[in-house]
Symmetry: C2
Subunit: 331 residues, 2 copies
Amino acid sequence: MSVLVVGSIALDTVKTPVEEHSDLLGGSACYAALGASFFSPVRLVGIVGHDFPESEFQFWKSRKIDSEGVQRVNGKTFRWSGEYAWDLNTRETRSIALNVFEHFEPVLPESYRRTDFVLLANIAPSLQSHVLDQMERPRFVVADTMDLWIKTTRSDLDALLRSVDLLILNDSEAREMTKETSLIKAGRRIRKMGPRYIASEMTKETSLIKAGRRIRKMGPRYIAIKKGEHGALLFGEDDQFFSCGAYPLEDIHDPTGAGDTFAGGMAGYLAGTVKKVHFNDLRRAMIYGSVLASFCVEAFSLERLRSLSMEEIGRRYETFKLMSQFEVPSA
Amino acid sequence: MSVLVVGSIALDTVKTPVEEHSDLLGGSACYAALGASFFSPVRLVGIVGHDFPESEFQFWKSRKIDSEGVQRVNGKTFRWSGEYAWDLNTRETRSIALNVFEHFEPVLPESYRRTDFVLLANIAPSLQSHVLDQMERPRFVVADTMDLWIKTTRSDLDALLRSVDLLILNDSEAREMTKETSLIKAGRRIRKMGPRYIASEMTKETSLIKAGRRIRKMGPRYIAIKKGEHGALLFGEDDQFFSCGAYPLEDIHDPTGAGDTFAGGMAGYLAGTVKKVHFNDLRRAMIYGSVLASFCVEAFSLERLRSLSMEEIGRRYETFKLMSQFEVPSA
């Protein structure tokens, strides 16, 4: 089955402590679509300007990524520029130019409306909802998000969550999301915790486990929390829980897009492999998402993913098995 | 087989954002010995003052923890006081009173010298070496350490490492340890990395995977890196690698002693179960260490460990299996 992917398509400038590159192909939809394409056909939704390379449309075609849903308009493509700190764990956005993205209103081609699997890659929750509204009862909806939307468009996000099957977010975002927005609720929680806490801090969940379980109650049946070099957690019904490490990489060249690729790998694996999604399918999907993300960060932009083979993916999947099993007899 | 455990025996004062307790039984040896005792008999080495509760000796006896190696001298027991930040992830030492520990020179009873398994719990590396020197060719030596020794007694630690089979340390300590002490080496490394790095930072390893592999080259055959809520990593020969998550706890009451209990659980499991240690044994040992640490933090001091049963340990071990497997068919 196919997976519909909507998100940003961007030209990035990325600076790490050792390198800087500009005009890189990026954006959540590009990473997610390419990640998903290893497992299933993709229907891509997005917007680009006149400066966007024609060659990319050819590349998508060669990878069974349908670009009928990508609008090409006059103006410049969305641009993002970011700089990573020395440890590559934190980054700062240096500049954003929305350009053609500013007035983007995703309109799904007729042929897209009956796609069974949907990945709402990281864009504003109102746009994610707008896409979902045009679809005819998809089977499984995956949504990715980021701190910006949690902080600035929380009610849009809350509305979206009621239609989402799997929400993907990172650890700091999960903690951010469990901050009480209601002062009344916050006050009640503070009272239960004793007088020594600072109010502004205590309303933010410190336990990721609690955060994951609480976010499940906001709507999505499943929550995946990405923890970068520490792997990922998965929460399901009845306290179902899965935890996996990250692939043991020695060197990371550019973390940009790792989360989008993770989401793409998960959604693509589900669309390509599973009819009705159960928790055990999501376990494997998370491993494949982790495998793809581990390749993504080995080079700038989409370069490593472009040259990646299914055989390489299979080998890292086997490594994940070896590195996580403990009920094996001694040699 | 028995495991010899040497480390500190302390009376602690612990303050978390919600509670404060004083005169708690603590110290690396107490946590480690009790952790190990679930799997094998323990021979304890340490020192206490006249203010140390007699009842603890009775408790040890009831748990097959031999206290013949615990010196009782005139003076006050070692005291430590610490305060945890609101998220319980960082702590500050408020005060330390070495007391009887200041002139501690561990002397092993004759009956201890032929113990096959040794856990050098967290104390000064010179004391750890002193204990090891009195032993007759132990089969497997586990050592725990902390940032203080890495920073202040590095050459003692380096000397010890050559006799250690398994070194246990936490993630920030692993990064700390891979700092080049030689300016010449640091200079060479800086040159290879490009001019944008800040010299003082770039000599500290940012990749935990690289750090783990580099520390292996300093002597120990195996390295276990504890990552708190993110689980633990294990490194062995030929890039053998194991990664496990942490038990999904919602609430932590007191993180004190979690690392010591982890080390005790690992060493005890090995002593009680394994003749010749292989990497696959260490995988299971790390799970048992994690299980015990997860109980430790559920209450202040040793309280939760005192009431813990093998059945409860077994149930959490099963949870670890469930939460880490991904090659299971869909329900």
